[in-house]
């Protein structure tokens, strides 16, 4: 169902330049991010780029929670599925 993932994404800083476009399934939509100019993208970088208030959202990557304390060190790889959620009104 999903494209193959880079197994150890923690190493992606060293793979800079190998891949210029990062394709993520973000809240159910395919989104592409240029990585050639600024290098790999972390969850922290993604949230900043999206303009989200980090204190009010939670992130799941490939069905696993990404703890807030690990946003900066969690590197994203093409094919990653991300859910970014927040609280809304509900009963």
């Amino acid at each position: 169902m999903n494209p193959p993932r880079i197994a150890d994404t923690a190493r992606s800083p060293h793979t800079r330049g190998m891949r210029d476009v990062l394709t993520l399934l973000l809240n159910g939509e395919n989104r592409q991010f240029e990585t050639s100019a600024r290098g790999p993208l972390s969850v922290l970088g993604l949230l900043t780029e999206l303009g989200l208030d980090m204190r009010k959202v939670a992130v799941e990557r490939n069905e696993e929670i990404v703890p807030r304390s690990r946003y900066a060190e969690t590197w994203l790889a093409s094919g990653d599925q991300l859910e970014i959620v927040h609280f809304i009104g509900g009963g």
Binding site: L26, L50, D53, A58, V85, H86, F87, I88, G89, G91
Partner: protein, 268 residues
């Protein structure tokens, strides 16, 4: 009720505790289906509720600066109770609450695993499955369930911190359709016991409280009233009235009249 307490004490000391947290208000309100966030905030303030249920949903990435619930319903002032509304499988419910815990940093949650529309009746198999995983994972689970005494007891034994059967289908406003079953279920439950769905107007909430429920959880009855803020006040009073009536202990029902005025000393 302790006979040594004065009437004043009975009300003054009336509070309830769930998962170690103590609350005065016995009304839990949802934050959904309001016209806008301002009305949500105003209605919740008027209800006097201390716990509010909230849903977990995808952020709208095309409008990241849109106002958020937290701006109108302060999480420092109200206890947020994340729910799993809209979850039809145990896995969805578990993932949703793990995200909620990360977003808010608390363990107290409301679990509901629903069957298909139009009834959205509690799916008890999915509910058991999710409850087991969540409890193992350190959550304190307040659970929405069918009005099934065996299921409720089993959920309590598993470690759920509150049992919350429906009075009627979610959002139906049909009122407490099962007062006898609610009463009978309550007999065997020691953790807080709430009616969670079906309340349509103030008298329904009062009935649930008169039956002896610990508290009532409702949303649409306020949000879908023509004037939600006024209905929120009505609910606050109804919950208090129902609770006091329960504490007071109602008079027995008798078939036939029993006049209040003396039958002696009448003029002839």
């Amino acid at each position: 009720m302790d006979q040594a307490m004065t009437d004043q004490d009975v009300y003054a000391e009336d509070a309830w505790t769930v998962a170690g947290r103590t609350f005065r208000s016995r009304l839990i309100v949802g934050t959904g289906r309001y016209k806008d966030l301002e009305e949500t905030g105003a209605a919740i303030a008027a209800s006097g509720a201390e716990i509010v249920t909230v849903a977990v949903r995808r952020v709208n990435l095309s409008d990241p600066k849109a106002p958020m619930l937290q701006d109108y319903v302060d999480p420092k002032k109200y206890t947020y109770l994340p729910n799993t509304a809209g979850c039809f499988t145990a896995n969805e419910a578990v993932r949703t609450l793990r995200l909620a815990r990360e977003a808010g940093g608390w363990n107290l949650v409301k679990l509901e695993v629903l069957g298909p529309p139009p009834l959205l009746y509690p799916d008890m198999r999915g509910t058991f499955e999710a409850a087991e995983v969540l409890i193992k994972d350190g959550f304190e689970v307040m659970v929405y369930c069918a009005d099934d005494p065996l299921a409720a007891k089993r959920l309590e034994e598993m470690g759920c911190v509150a049992i919350m059967p429906l009075g009627a289908p979610i959002g139906s406003g049909l009122g407490v359709q099962n007062p006898a079953m609610i009463s009978m279920m309550m007999e065997h439950i020691t953790v807080p016991f709430l009616v969670d769905a079906g309340v349509g107007t103030a008298s329904d909430a009062a009935i649930a409280m008169e039956l002896g429920c610990t508290a009532v959880l409702l949303n649409s009855a306020i949000a879908h009233a023509k004037r939600p803020v006024i209905m929120a006040q009505a609910m606050k009073h109804a919950i208090a009235a129902g609770r006091l009536a329960y504490l007071a202990g109602r008079m027995p029902r008798t078939m036939g009249a029993d006049p209040s005025s003396p039958l002696t000393g009448l003029i002839r």
